[in-house]
Amino acid sequence: MLVDWLSLGSIYALLAVGFVIIFKSTQVLNFAHGALAALGAFLVASMATILQIPGRWMGSAPVWLKWTSSALVALAAAALIGLILERLFIRPMLGEGLFSVAIVTLGLDIVIRTVSNDFMGTNPRPLGFPGGTASLDLGWVVIPWNVVVSVIVTLVAVVLIATFFLSRTGVAMRATAFDQEAARAQGINVGRIFSLAWAIGSVMAAVAGIFLSVFPRRSTGVDTATAFLAFAAFPAIILGGLDSIVGAVVGGYAIGLAQAAVTEFLSNNPSFAFLGSGFGGVVPYVLMLLVLLIKPYGLFGTEEIRRV
């Protein structure tokens, strides 16, 4: 259960963080995040196992080094894709209603998914994660390496991003989110902030996509269902609050814990056997509805002034 919790929690937290970055600086609810995660994972799969870039030029370098450099190339590609998407589809919508931009990402989602599913085909694409099925044995608990790495990556990413938001550019991002026109009047290049947010958001989506595809229980690789699974990050964001990085992480691990605990409880209690094995997947959404009823702006979110 600890393993399930940590792996689910990290995935949700990573997805949520990428989501929150885009929301926090552009106020856009990005419905294409799941598609971006799947696309990122697919990029890693192509770089690491199909095209072998840059591994093919690295001769006899160790496997993990080859894989890591492939992943970095893929993440750079993801950032580039984020930049292009923002420039083509989001930037022209600057100044339009916030919700119509969110709806644009709905169209974006379908476009990305159609294209990446087409390249992917119907079979899952393995990512060639070098940790494989090996585990770290701590004596009292055995944790697969991919879970260890996902937890470390989540924590590092969060610390980096939290410090980034305190920097000059980070403050500019928050100002942009608060009021685009006022930010512009203060000499902030709002367009560049948008680009930056989407680049970072896409990279975070891709990182989450990697772990979503080497997840202990679905370790076959990235396939056409990956984008759908990523929807489960919504509950984490709602629980944590739409615009809080800390909230995204806390929300991610809390939702992961709830799902792992319910799954564990159901599998140990034969009287609940009728609920089937997949019931845990429903838990995040049910929790989300409860949070929305009790505290719509989440644990760490900024409350907005209500109208009417």
Binding site: L106, V111, D118, V282, M288, V308
Partner: protein
Amino acid sequence: MIDFLVTAGILVAFFVILASGLNLQWGLTGLANLGPVGFFALGSYVSGLVMIPPPEVTGFVTDTFVISLGLPWPVGLVAALIVTGVVATVIGWMLLRTDTAPLFVAVITLAFAEIFFLLIITQKWLANGFNGIRGIDRPLGNLVEFGTYERFFLVVMVVAAALVFWFVRHVEASPYGRVLKGIREDPAAVAALGHDVRRFRISAFVLGCLVLALAGALWTPFVTVVEPSAFGTEQTFLVWAVLIIGGAGNAWGPLVGGLVIIGLIQQGTRFLPATGEIAELTVRLRGVVIGLLFILFLRFRPKGLVPERARRILPEDP
């Protein structure tokens, strides 16, 4: 060829009904329902469960349904509408709790669709999981000559779509519809005029969901199989695409959008010269083309092909 056209016509009628339901919610009232496929599926599943006869107990029973009544289609339709009405009221109440801010409405309705989908695929005792409900009898199937059922069904669907169109047109022009539009534009002003904004919002939401469930209950006898794969998230997107590209806020929008998006682009491209590479390419490009069109419309013509016209009550100033 003619069978192709008949199927295309049926699908167009389905999407006209679905987009009209969404039009009541988003177009008139400004409620961003991102889970129309959930209510469509709910209507379809409830009617399917009411209509399917109890599975025969054989050596190895594999089909499991939470209920299986074997009742005729009209009962299934009424049951679908009642269940959806109750569910939509509960969700509508949740929407009011969050003040129907578009983002929260979107997330709640999305969550409903996901929960429903996940329950269906993971809980086999509910409606037979991935295999779905199979072998539902077509109403009047014994009266209509074999092989012409599709054409008969096309007539049914066209009548249904026409009725829904007529209904939405009347809602739009009625005092009720004008209040809804007022709420969409400025809820505070409408509240100041003494209208109960919450009641109007929840009733419009439930009404829209009932139209979506009606489409679901019609879908069941058409395909005779209710299975989860028909209710993916891409259906939600298609309904939105039909509404936005056609034009939200007026009854003609979903009609035109359905004809253009479903009729012309999704189904019409099947008539393109289909040889080898090109045929494959058109199949692949369909989603991309509709997605890009959707984005372009939001940017350059957010009011759609048939824009909503402001009703002028007082004569123009001289």
